[in-house]
């Protein structure tokens, strides 16, 4: 759909047709005392050159440059983006496409979304995936609300304390104005979630775990979903690093009823924390309770295959206050980017890349342990892990920063009591030389 701004002549024609003489006339029914009549306090526009200089100035203030190797994940991951991806996703047909309300003129977009849904459903091991939520955090909140809708009379949900702190904060924001309660499950010493308290629960609609969790630890989703189903609750499995499923069993195949998480790793740069991609899927029997857009495959009057938005009666523009969510959009360009990424790598590529991430992370983990740092959690990890340093790590971290390496995330601000514990992430972007530099600085 083209965007063409109106000329003054176009505007005059429209004004004449509706019988107004200028813009002020259109707002004439707004009372005088409700109008803002002062000048807006906005800076003057800049020329293209001035703007470039201004942005370069901001960039120069950043401590971390694109030349740094960032050994932090914590929900946002450094991955190589194949050149084919930006070349393809920046095509104007994809980048500027509007949301596909009219199937007759949006078949390209709809087909792209349908293929994304198919790839996502296969990756996550679910029957059906939607056209995406905004990000992993809001996706988790929506998954829990979906659990409440399915659970009907139940009023409580449980979330693991090992879920990303920001995801848990977003869940709290969503649940605060409701009558429903969110309880937090504690951790075991090995870094996995302690599910023992579930045995005494009978009013939980859904229980959410993240795997790999915030500490990089792989949760035993099969055991968890069994324990959760035993108390007649739904198992929500969330993630922040979907690459893990190149190596780990899909959450769906482990018994999860709803799977949701962040898809940024699949072809999107970290970008200061946004935009995100809320990958979301569930069992077929819950599809009518699922939030978000859903693209379906059908045939037209002539029997030709076509794609449409389907099950629209769940959505807020039709169902209103009883809708599955207030979302009436999706992360279109991110969705297509992720589809391109998944299609480019394929199953074998994802497997190899996941293996590489895992192996490199193990290399750094072992190297740090040999210097005397303690691995905080004994359970298996994917491409992130937590180590505890004997003394103050900050001087070594500062030296590494000067050498272009961002060495880990201090956890104490998120988990009081985790003094000297750092969360490291190693992806395919960290070379052996970089890792050896980190190990030798720590050893000093």
């Amino acid at each position: 759909m083209r965007y063409l701004p109106h000329t003054d002549a176009d505007i005059k024609t429209m004004f004449d047709a509706i019988g107004v003489k200028d813009f002020a006339d259109i707002f004439s029914n707004i009372p005088e005392n409700c109008r803002y009549d002062r000048e807006m306090n906005l800076p003057e526009p800049k020329t293209e050159w001035e703007l470039n200089t201004y942005m370069a100035g901001i960039r120069a203030m950043m401590e971390v440059t694109p030349d740094h190797t960032v050994l932090i994940g914590a929900g946002r991951y450094q991955h190589h983006i194949p050149s084919t991806i930006p070349a393809l996703m920046s095509r104007s047909e994809f980048l500027t496409a509007y949301t596909p309300y009219q199937p007759e003129m949006a078949q390209g977009t709809l087909q792209g979304l349908f293929e994304y849904q198919t790839l996502t459903a296969r990756l996550l091991g679910v029957d059906v995936a939607n056209a995406s939520m905004y990000d992993g955090a809001s996706g988790l909140a929506e998954a829990l609300l979906m659990g409440i809708r399915i659970g009907r009379k139940k009023k409580r949900v449980a979330v693991s304390g090992a879920i990303h702190p920001h995801y848990r904060a977003v869940v709290d924001t969503y649940f605060k104005p409701t009558e429903f309660e969110v309880v937090e499950l504690p951790l075991l010493e090995d870094g996995t979630t302690d599910l023992s308290s579930l045995r005494d629960e009978d009013d939980l609609a859904a229980v959410a775990l993240q795997s790999p969790n915030f500490f990089g630890v792989v949760e035993d989703l099969e055991a968890a979903s069994a324990a959760i189903h035993d108390i007649d609750a739904l198992c929500v499995a969330c993630f922040s690093e979907p690459l893990a499923f190149g190596l780990m069993k899909s959450p769906g195949s482990c018994g999860a009823d709803i799977v949701c998480g962040e898809g940024q790793s699949f072809g999107m740069p970290p970008s200061f924390g946004g935009p995100g991609l809320g990958m979301f899927g569930c069992r077929d029997k819950f599809v009518r309770n699922m939030p978000g857009r859903l693209v379906g495959e059908t045939t037209d009057l002539d029997g030709k295959r076509g794609f449409v938005l389907t099950l629209s009666t769940r959505e807020q523009h039709i169902r209103r206050e009883k809708a599955t969510s207030n979302i009436c959009s999706n992360q279109g360009i991110c969705t297509l980017t992720a589809a391109m990424y998944m299609a480019s790598l394929g199953g074998s590529g994802l497997r190899k890349l996941a293996r590489l991430n895992y192996d490199k992370a193990e290399y750094l983990k072992q190297g740090l342990q040999e210097t005397g740092a303690a691995c905080s959690f004994s359970a298996p990890t994917f491409n992130e892990f937590v180590v505890e340093f004997g003394g103050d790590f900050e001087p070594a971290r500062k030296r590494l920063m000067e050498q272009g390496i961002v060495a880990g995330l201090a956890l104490e601000p998120y988990y009081p009591g985790f003094k000297n514990r750092y969360l490291f992430c190693v992806t395919e972007t960290a070379s052996r030389e970089i890792m050896d530099t980190v190990i030798s600085e720590v050893a000093k």
Binding site: R288, T313, R314, I318, R319, K322
Partner: protein, 132 residues
């Protein structure tokens, strides 16, 4: 959409303001939606049914009907315990469109069997439709 004269409105059952019908069969009451309602909704694609054993009051929501263009709540015309649901509707929701009176939705044991007489008879329901 059908004209009022074209609508099938049996005389031996009662109707509610929400376009449901109720029919006494022994000591239970079957509930469904009227020909007017199924015509207005369009092709029904999914029926959400309550659980057998639930006890609800008059006016309580007991399920939903999803058509291609809307989802409509179903309201219990008289209070009672749900003793049966029409499970055929799970696979064949279109039964309601094809035969709105044979295609019953739920069967209840009414709290008070006299409640059904408080509902509209055919004439009163026709008056309601004419006013719509």
């Amino acid at each position: 959409m059908k004209d009022i004269q074209e609508l099938n409105l049996p005389a031996d059952i009662r109707y509610s303001n929400d376009h449901e019908w109720a029919k006494l069969e022994g000591d239970t009451v079957k509930v469904g939606i009227s020909d007017y309602a199924q015509d207005a909704l369009g092709d029904i694609v999914f029926v959400e049914l309550p659980e057998v054993g639930d006890t609800l009051g008059a006016g309580d929501e007991f399920g939903t009907l999803e058509s291609v263009k809307a989802v409509s709540e179903l309201y219990l015309p008289i209070g009672g315990e749900i003793v049966a649901v029409n499970s055929e509707l799970e696979d064949s929701p279109e039964l309601i469109n094809q035969d709105p009176y044979g295609g019953w939705i739920i069967e209840i044991k009414p709290d008070d069997s006299g409640d059904i007489d408080k509902l509209l008879d055919r004439e009163a329901y026709l008056e309601l439709l004419k006013a719509e």
